[in-house]
Symmetry: C2
Subunit: 346 residues, 2 copies
């Protein structure tokens, strides 16, 4: 099927004018007589003329579109973030093109390359859990393609970054568990080299340290696929339950990990919080409906998306090369519910 679009030439031909005159009339240039303008405008309206954005892009070397790369869209955090991204992009006249890495480094590289070969004015990325090497970003970035990282960032690339306060979020969650009397706190997280994993692990450790609880690395389990593979999560839980010194609480880092853990705990028939208390990073707004209602660390996903987009567009539209970069850190929210209820004094 094809589209037979009307061009500026057609208008010119129909009206006996040159394309340049038509173009100028359409843009309301002062050097076109008002009669001609009116003529052109009316005719354009009549035949429903729309300028061809591709031709414009070619000329202006701009696309008015930004690319998003995330691991998966069917994820509370990311869909909320993308919502924020779209809200800003739409207002600023940018289209949003997105694709999913599915936590694969290979696929991420392909996408970046594909997207960035100038079909996009800038990139918003949250790296995949497999990504340890950032040269595919670095190359494009050095060539002048604006990139802003959010959530899972590439520390070694010097550009804008937007994250939640993962350290503090993790610290608060862990501290909350400790305050409620839990001492053997397990931690299930994503791939260890991910920025978010590291930051959350540090927050967790710091809370233990502040409360004189010894860190035990047997209590920390990594799910390299970020909770997308159920078995990986169940395995991690089983390892924790097999420990001689039993864990009494669980702090999960990551949206998918948290929800998958809840499913696994249900399958393993563990009672929350009696067998084990649970708190986790997640952006589902369904936590209050759980049995028991789930305590969560909530990230300002929508705002993260918004801020990242604003920074990216400012980079894109900046005349001079940008040299001052910001690392915005947005606060998380600790929502306490029954899944971390105090240990009953028996």
């Amino acid at each position: 099927m094809k589209f037979e679009p009307v061009t500026i030439k057609d208008i010119g031909k129909a009206l006996g004018l040159s394309t340049s005159t038509v173009s100028r009339a359409l843009r309301g240039s002062y050097e076109i007589s008002s009669e001609t303008k009116k003529l052109v405008l009316e005719y354009a309206e009549k035949i429903n003329y729309r300028p061809n954005p591709i031709a414009l892009s070619l000329k202006e070397r701009r696309n008015h579109s930004i690319g998003i790369i995330v691991c998966e869209i069917a994820n509370n955090f990311f869909s909320q973030a993308i919502n924020g991204i779209e809200s800003i992009a739409y207002n600023r006249g940018y289209h949003v093109i997105f694709s999913q890495s599915h936590e694969s480094y290979e696929r991420e590289s392909v996408i970046v390359d594909h997207l960035a070969s100038r079909s996009v004015d800038g990139l918003l990325v949250s790296v995949s859990s497999e990504t340890k090497d950032y040269t595919h970003f670095k190359q494009l970035y050095d060539k002048g393609l604006p990139i802003v990282f959010f959530d899972r960032i590439a520390n070694e690339i010097n550009t804008h970054k937007v994250i939640a306060d993962n350290f503090k979020g993790a610290y608060d969650a862990t501290e909350h568990l400790i305050q409620n009397g839990f001492k053997r706190i397990a931690h299930i997280t994503s791939a260890p080299y991910l920025s978010i994993s590291e930051e959350r692990l540090e927050g967790y450790k710091e809370a233990l340290r502040k409360n004189n609880i010894e860190f035990d690395d047997k209590l920390v389990q990594y799910c390299h696929h970020g909770g997308m593979i159920y078995d990986e999560v169940e395995e991690a839980l089983k390892k924790i339950f097999k420990l001689k010194q039993k864990a009494d609480a669980l702090f999960t880092a990551g949206d998918r990990i948290t929800t998958t853990c809840m499913q696994a705990l249900q399958k393993l028939e563990k009672k929350i919080p009696d067998d084990i208390a649970v708190i986790g990073f997640t952006n589902t707004n369904l936590g209050e409906l759980f049995n028991p209602p789930l305590s969560v660390v909530r990230q300002p996903a929508f705002e993260i998306g918004q801020v990242a987009t604003e920074l990216l567009i400012s980079m894109i539209e900046s005349k001079r090369p940008v040299t001052e970069f910001e690392s915005k850190v947005l606060q998380t929210e600790l929502i306490i519910r029954d899944s971390t209820a105090k240990i009953k004094t028996k």
Copy 2:
């Protein structure tokens, strides 16, 4: 910031060749000597040449991108559907551009126009709940822009459509409630003119009829914003609870409506299923974690996205105008849990 991209001309200049030779060498044309080819290919590789997709689009009058319009992305059903869309689009070499109508007719019109002014080869749309008039789609469609509707469809436009079997899904859910002894079944749904609302309402009515239960329109409440506005949902529930002849069960149509109802029921301190049994259309995979675990009608969202995308791409790539259109209907899945447990015989 700008991008100083290397073009085919640069290669030509550097190698003392014409642009046409370079172009042909790059595409491996037979009329270029193998030495020249090798020379060009190696140089292109060295300076990391990427063809400018915009220039290509202008020439081929194709973009290799498809547009998606949904009401919101932060919704289980739509994010799963978009996942399916992206999976197919990626494999077929298409970019995915998406935007949200936020259930606004006004915004939907603007987006369609914006997206469709040839910056996109085809459109995948699920209409907003405010949309009663489809001329904004019809216009573009008649001009030759391929459009495929999914989920919320425009019946009056003759093109491919992909939906879940809403009638049967609703029928099954209602029938299940009846089988479990419920007789006064309330129904909360979206805007009445939405195709999905109508189909689900019909399924609900049919199940009542088959079981000789009289239909009572006081038991049907419409939430025009599809559950996005909490108060609207709470209001609908309150109306239902105010009925003299009490409702004993609730069938909710729509992802957001279902989850928002659950929140409202919790706030109103209704016990499920004792005060009221609940089953609803929703694609959350967290239903089993609810208190009580929620019975649901699940749509094959991912597959719907996939099928719709395949149909759209086949339209885009068809040489001759397409005249035979399909309306694919995919089966829903009834998942029974405790929220619809049989009435206890007191």
